[in-house]
């Protein structure tokens, strides 16, 4: 037995094994899970609906060091003080 943790649009956030001392009030209980990645599914009317969210392009957030380095380079270019390699 498996309990589902759903978000507000019934998308599966996680699933846990039902333990004898657990309280699963309000959580759907199922016998088995669908194949694959759980967050790709919604659980609606006792059925698993495959509805993956579009994958967002992964953007790496620049660190402060990256930003400072870019600013230094830009300043050097504008002032003609860029060091030659």
């Amino acid at each position: 037995m498996i309990a589902l943790n759903l978000n507000t649009d019934n998308r599966i956030l996680s699933a846990c094994v039902v333990l004898t001392n657990g309280n699963y009030e309000g959580m759907p209980i199922v016998d088995k899970l669908p194949e694959g990645n759980l967050p790709d599914y919604q659980y609606i009317n006792d059925e698993f609906i495959y509805n993956p969210l579009p994958k967002e392009e992964v953007k790496e957030v620049p660190s402060q060091l990256d930003v400072i380095e870019a600013q230094i380079t830009y300043t050097a270019m504008m002032t003609g003080t860029l060091l030659e390699e």
Partner: protein
């Protein structure tokens, strides 16, 4: 009942140890027919035929578990006992522990879950090749013979807790000898609680090298037993550890727990696990490990009285840039730790 086959508990057979895991007074088939009563002894026969019918066990006798919850799986600490009929007679009964078939599991008569997992023969629980063996919620380690010592390698967080607990017990402990390694002189402590218990397959995080078991160290082992059963509950277990784990709150009644211990899988690309604690109601905890590819993997969690909240996972590069990644720091199991757990350590 004529088909019952009483067997002697704790009997060693075919190199496997016999775990008398649970006591039942009744077994009820799927059709509701009671096939056993309190005088019956259910034993395991691994010669059973296929086409099983799952047995439901009246959990009323299982140490407080509600009688209304006829269970096909009985959780005994961290072990799962599943009784299953494969045919029409008990000759076909199979029992499983952690999905592995075992010699026999269920028998009746007077015991309860808490003491039934206590082996009466200590040597049967300590492996003869120097490895440890789980025993219902903690790891049992071989204690070195006189004059020896044991070296334990921990995952960082496990190490921290183990040392702290051991220090609380005895106040004296050898400090780290190198990263992630501590050497313990067995003469300096009375009992060793390897933190965070130990768990079904939580083997990769802890390694033990030790000499042979000496009978004079059995009191240590007794101490471990005493520490085990008080105040630690498994409260959540991930049923899909291969899935992403997005930011979420898991509804849990944590009001009776001083803190939780969460076992994480560091990354989907890794088999490394690590355990982090969070004190209930005390703020956010940043759980940091590595993603097995040279980058830091993090996830923040926070324990409330009624839930455990997780932020998204993140991967940090060497220079501090980061990306969201819900394939790292996947919670696998959550343990609730009560205050009484610390009482038994202090005693």
């Amino acid at each position: 009942m004529s088909y019952l086959k009483p067997q002697t508990p704790l009997q060693h057979k075919d190199g496997d140890y016999f775990y008398p895991l649970t006591t039942i007074d009744q077994v009820i088939m799927e059709d509701g027919i009671t096939r056993l009563n309190g005088a019956d002894l259910v034993s395991v026969n691994t010669d059973g035929a296929p086409e099983g019918e799952t047995v439901k066990v009246n959990a009323d006798t299982l140490d407080g578990i509600s009688a209304d919850e006829y269970a096909t799986k009985i959780f005994v600490q961290n072990k799962i006992v599943e009784a299953q009929f494969d045919g029409n007679s008990l000759d076909d009964v199979k029992t499983y522990v952690n999905n592995q078939i075992t010699n026999r599991v269920i028998h009746s008569g007077g015991k309860n879950l808490l003491n039934i997992n206590n082996p009466t023969k200590k040597n049967t629980i300590i492996a003869s090749d120097g490895s440890f063996e789980e025993n219902s919620g903690f790891m049992t380690y071989r204690i070195p013979s006189t004059g020896g010592y044991m070296t334990i390698s921990f995952a960082p967080q496990s190490r921290f807790d183990a040392i702290r607990y051991a220090s609380e017990i005895d106040g004296v402990i050898t400090r780290y000898t190198s990263s992630n390694i501590v050497t313990l002189d067995a003469s300096q402590w009375d009992a060793l609680w390897i933190s965070i218990m130990p768990i079904d397959d939580f083997v990769t995080n802890v390694m033990v090298e030790a000499g042979s078991v000496a009978t004079e160290y059995e009191p240590y082992y007794e101490g471990l037993k005493e520490l085990t059963y008080r105040g630690v509950d498994l409260v959540w277990k991930n049923a899909s550890s291969g899935s992403e784990f997005n930011a979420q709150s898991i509804p849990l009644d944590l009001s009776k727990y001083y803190k939780v211990e969460v076992e994480f899988l560091c990354a989907q690309s890794s088999d490394i696990r690590i355990i982090f604690p969070a004190i209930t109601g005390s703020g956010r905890y940043n759980c940091v490990s590595d993603d097995n590819r040279g980058k830091l993997a993090t996830r923040i969690m926070r324990a409330y009285s009624d839930k455990l909240s997780f932020n998204s996972g993140y991967i940090y590069s060497t220079y501090g840039s980061y990306t969201e990644d819900d394939n790292v720091m996947i919670p696998l199991k959550i343990y609730g730790i009560k205050e009484e757990f610390y009482d038994c350590i202090e005693s």
